[in-house]
Symmetry: C2
Subunit: 338 residues, 2 copies
């Protein structure tokens, strides 16, 4: 019977890029007792961890709990993370030993979770890895769908630009816009030539300046900062910006942030900006996943091993692997395989 | 018969604050021939000039004609401005000598205008000066109404913040929100204590931090820059920003602009931002003016000599008077009386 577990706890809140060692080390590895399993709970072993830019926000020193969409991580407690896990013991009728499940396991080898907070992860068709439940067929895929279809109200006639287009959300936005919504022009912005090539293979057109000559109707923003500021000047009259993320700013305290200077374009071009968080759209999740499944069968959505970037890591390497999100080295959904 | 007129022409496009003299003088005074009056035209003498922050945008060097909502002013041509004028000669059936009219007279003593581009300016009830047609009962009043009611969809239950609250647009936003829409909390931001006192007399509550303790549902932004950046952090979940102006940035080229750093609040609080220009709403102008007249009678709107700041100026002093817009010295609509 498992009684203890290794965990990564938050050691100190980083103002800039999280540090893996030294006096300001962001996380620390601890071994801690597991609580006793109670009725309607399951004990799970973490198999895969989802790596998400949003996690950076949960450990910021200036995070005001009143203004966060999930509670921040407290110093000295377990780092939050979503993961795919195997049930090793169960006091719930819904799950049995050996089941694969999805839940907020945190950076923990083992976790005791309430069964009501855990979702089943049944086999996927076509031999797809269940890790896609952490990405394309999970919250990131839903984020892409919600942002491009509902928030930006994208129509087939719209010219669409997506930043972070080779990332977990961006790659889905490109495909949903191009193949599911039928947009004629979908332009992806990505950090390297190799990424751009891949994004093009998903359906995006190349060359930002040329492609935006007639200006842009919808911009799906994953990055914020300088690219967003540039995009303000490329938006068409009455265009829409779906503000999804600002990864360029997550590791810079406000003194070091670039700052947006082209705000006036919002006024003169009558641009509409809408910030959104997928948590507001979870009630539609199963509906959207049905739509994704149909699109997969019709060839309007491609999800394969290239849609995720699975990094085999030891438990000690969890923070280091997560930091790959911020150095541009991952393509598709970054997943840690333990 | 008037054959020539004095005019202020654009001499060079300013990158920063327009200059009244020196090698980079922004405007120059010229005497020029008037065109002969043709059928369906009127010759008018300018009585009052409207001073508008938007005029600054029309003379910026980086103004891309494709992205401006009115054509930019070309170097060596008449500075654009709206004004109240007297018809001195007419070849139009619609206007006769002695009529007071509204039109795009520019910074010109006399102007020949097409009658179709000129609006009549009949007497106002209650002995109100016709100069209010340039402000509260003109485009600035309509701007306020369009932004707070239509763009921001303000409801009585909303807490509203207005920046530039002692300015031509802001003073109307405060009154429309508080008295016409019945908002319980309307907070005005203005540049001096005296202005704040006056804004309070229009119905706004005081003390920004205390008043925004429960956060803000609607922010009507006239100023941009640092105040906008601060307001991002004071917005409630699912709140709206009506982006009307950015006077703090108009005289700073992009290198010197402060830059917005709190963009992420738009995402985490799901804020909606909508830029708008009153020109999109002109079809509703007479309807809104009817509503204003009714509100005046019911005491839900106060328009008096304090609603405008009329500066008696010689023709030579037109640019200097206009520049008062940018040093914070005017309260209410800034009007130049020639």
């Amino acid at each position: 019977m498992v009684k203890t577990t290794q965990q990564w706890h938050l050691a100190s809140k980083p103002t800039d890029l999280p540090e893996l060692s030294g006096p300001n080390q962001t996380f620390k590895l601890v071994t801690t007792d597991l609580p006793a399993l109670e009725a309607n709970q399951v004990l799970v072993k973490t198999l895969y961890l989802s790596n998400d830019p949003a996690q950076r926000g949960w450990i910021s020193p200036d995070a005001d709990p009143e203004r966060l969409y999930v509670p921040p991580v407290k110093v000295g407690t377990l780092m939050h993370a979503r993961g795919l896990a195997e049930v090793v013991d169960s006091k719930s009728e819904r799950f049995k030993k050996g089941d694969t499940v999805l839940g907020s396991v945190g950076w923990s080898e083992y976790a005791v979770l309430n069964a009501k907070d855990v979702q089943p992860a049944p086999d996927l068709p076509g031999g797809l890895s269940k890790t896609h439940y952490l990405g394309a067929l999970g919250l990131t895929g839903i984020t892409a769908y919600y942002g491009i279809k509902v928030v930006a109200e994208t129509q087939a006639s719209d010219t669409v630009v997506v930043s972070g287009a080779a990332g977990a959300t961006g790659m889905m936005v490109v495909q949903i816009a191009k193949k599911m919504l039928g947009c004629k022009r979908v332009i992806g912005i990505a950090g390297t030539d190799a990424k751009c090539k891949w994004v093009e293979s998903l359906g995006a057109d190349d060359d930002l300046v040329k492609a935006t000559e007639g200006f842009v109707n919808v911009y799906f923003d994953n990055v914020g900062g300088e690219i967003l500021d540039l995009m303000f000047t490329r938006m068409a009259r009455y265009s829409r910006i779906a503000a999804c993320g600002a990864i360029s700013a997550y590791n810079a305290n406000s003194d070091r942030r670039a700052g947006l200077k082209n705000w006036f374009e919002i006024i003169s071009m009558r641009i509409q900006v809408r910030g959104f968080i997928v948590l507001d759209y979870l009630s539609k999740m199963s509906e959207v996943l049905d739509e994704f499944r149909a699109a997969l069968q019709e060839g309007k959505l491609k999800i394969d091993e290239q849609s995720e970037h699975v990094v085999k890591a030891s438990f000690e390497e969890i923070p280091k692997t997560w930091l790959m999100l911020f150095d541009g080295s991952n393509t598709g959904k970054l997943v840690t395989s333990l």
